[in-house]
């Protein structure tokens, strides 16, 4: 955390000749800093994977080796553990419903924000931004009561509704920046050629926007997949993986915890890699 922490370690631009040594030292310091920061992010994940890929006896054993034993024992134990398979399946279902809901509701709003100027636009943006200033997982508390009344308690859809509240603002902001990047002239050209507004959106805008929309769908999936508090409050029988792991923290053996942690991390890693180009649109800020 301390090495290379000075932003002054940016690569040296052309400097006068006597400073060449200083410059070279600066460049080495910069490289060392980059390597250190990468290690800071990657090594802890690697250590979790070492545990997940070792036999249960190695996971509880001491001292630890720094290379995995490549024994499927821990993972098999995790997958066969009572309730894990169901929890995994529940997590996937909730995340999928969240994904569909947040894009289905969010994309039209993003389109409207990018294409129209109308009274009340500022109000809507305020509402979306406001969601960020609130601790959203707390919504699970009142909704738990509401869901019992409507029969949505302990259900996939009920939890997905809460997760959609978390994911919707991102879906709106991503699709907004996405549609803003597609020239309106393309749509106008389609209208002059006889397309209706809807046809123009479906045939001209959608094909261009599809990769970005897929990316924001993936974000919605990851948000739901990772959420712990609301999942733990709202599900009892139909627990998601995060809720299951949280509630069995006190009782579950170490191999189960680490294999479970790995099961949470790996899909997230793949998904973030798939959508890395859209990381910036997520925060409603254009990057060049």
């Amino acid at each position: 955390m301390t090495a290379g922490s000075s932003p002054a370690a940016a690569p040296a631009p052309a400097a006068p000749a006597p400073a060449a040594d200083v410059r070279r030292a600066g460049r080495w310091l910069f490289r060392a800093g980059v390597v250190f920061l990468c290690a800071w992010v990657l090594v802890p994940i690697y250590l979790l994977m070492v545990n997940a890929l070792s036999a249960p006896a190695d996971v509880t054993g001491f001292p630890k080796r720094l290379v995995p034993g490549f024994d499927p024992g821990s993972l098999a134990f995790f997958l066969r553990f009572q309730g894990v398979a169901e929890a995994l399946w529940n997590s996937v279902q909730v995340a999928a419903v969240t994904m569909v809901l947040s894009i289905g509701i969010g994309a039209p709003a993003g389109y409207a924000l990018s294409r129209f100027d109308f009274p009340g636009k500022g109000m809507f943006r305020l509402l979306v931004i406001m969601t960020r200033a609130f601790p959203l997982p707390l919504l699970a508390l009142p909704l738990a009561v509401l869901f019992i009344r409507t029969g949505l308690d302990d259900s996939i859809v009920g939890l997905a509704l809460v997760h959609t509240t978390l994911a919707l603002p991102f879906a709106v902001l991503i699709t907004f920046s996405l549609f803003s990047g597609i020239p309106v002239e393309l749509e106008e050209a389609a209208w002059t050629l006889g397309c209706t507004r809807l046809q123009a959106v479906l045939r001209v805008v959608m094909p261009l926007a599809l990769p970005g929309i897929a990316a924001s769908a993936v974000f919605a999936f990851v948000i739901s997949w990772n959420e712990v508090f609301a999942a733990a409050v709202l599900t009892i029988q139909n627990r998601t993986l995060t809720a299951f792991l949280l509630q069995s923290l006190d009782v579950s053996p170490l191999p189960l915890k680490f294999a479970g942690g790995a099961a949470l991390v790996i899909p997230a890693l793949v998904f973030i890699f798939a959508v890395r180009r859209y990381l910036f649109a997520m925060w409603g800020i254009a990057n060049r």
Binding site: G33, F124, L136, L138, T242, L264, F273
Partner: protein
């Protein structure tokens, strides 16, 4: 019809946010000040009277107070590094952004693998002969070790959010400003302090508000590392709701978290005031 179209498109999202965002917050506010159908402050009294409350309250603030400044410095460093890179920018950015996709529970488990009694830190320490027997870091005898583990896990997991916002913000600053300062003899550190930081203020504001609110919501990392040794507000809320089955007190705690979140947001908005002309 064309005039109504934008409203029709916004209707589902607006309706959803009203039903599942504004209305539930109203409900939880009402729930916190009612007891058995009558208005009362009994929930707040019970909450404040519980022996764990003040520990949870101060722990949450302490954690945010330690974690957020470290994250700010680290995120600024990472963002400067990424902005300064020429080759391999995309790869480094992806590596730095990885924790963005990692659940707080998973982050807690990652650091548990390091700090638990048979974990990697103990293996390292005994390997070098620094301790004779593995130390129980996450037990009640070592409150500072628990705090350190939680701080490390939080810094590790949640710095990426700030970094991404700051990288985006730095990309918006025209290069000419820095070059002009260089012509006038400003060192790299001076350029960072006098040019980059002031121009970065809108992004800093966004990043800090977001991060501080998330810091007050800290829950699963603490549950994984500290268990019951280190009470925090969100964990206590969960306990009252789930274990003690008292929704009124849980609602009161939720209002406390909401109150400190809003207070922090207002303070940050004021401290890092962005003039209207400078907004984009």
């Amino acid at each position: 019809m064309p005039r109504l179209l934008p409203y029709l498109l916004l209707l589902p999202a607006t309706a959803f946010l009203v039903v599942f965002f504004l209305y539930p917050f109203l409900l939880v506010a009402i729930e916190s000040v009612t007891r058995q159908g009558a208005w009362s402050l009994a929930n707040y009294e019970r909450m404040a009277g519980h022996w764990k409350f003040s520990a949870a309250f101060w722990n949450t603030l302490l954690l945010a107070g330690i974690v957020v400044p470290i994250q700010l410095a680290l995120a600024l460093t990472m963002a400067s590094v990424v902005t300064g890179l020429k080759a391999g920018r995309a790869t480094i950015l992806y590596i730095f952004a990885i924790p963005l996709g990692i659940s707080d529970l998973a982050a807690g488990l990652v650091w548990l693998a390091i700090f638990e009694q048979t974990g990697f830190l103990n293996s390292l320490l005994t390997g070098f002969g620094l301790v004779e027997r593995p130390v129980l870091f996450l037990g009640y005898q070592n409150p500072w070790a628990i705090l350190l583990a939680i701080v490390l896990a939080e810094v590790w997991r949640a710095t990426a959010i700030m970094m991404v916002i700051l990288v985006a913000g730095m990309g918006l600053i025209p290069r000419e400003y820095g070059e002009a300062a260089e012509v006038f003899g400003a060192s790299r550190w001076q350029r960072f302090l006098r040019v980059t930081l002031p121009l970065l203020r809108p992004s800093l504001q966004t990043a800090l508000i977001l991060r501080v609110i998330l810091a007050f919501e800290v829950f699963a990392v603490v549950a994984a590392l500290g268990g019951t040794q280190f009470p925090v507000l969100m964990g206590e809320t969960y306990n009252w709701q789930f274990t003690l089955q008292d929704r009124g007190v849980a609602a009161a705690l939720a209002m406390v978290i909401l109150a400190i979140s809003i207070a922090a947001t207002l303070v940050l908005l004021r401290l890092l005031h962005v003039p209207k002309e400078a907004r984009t």
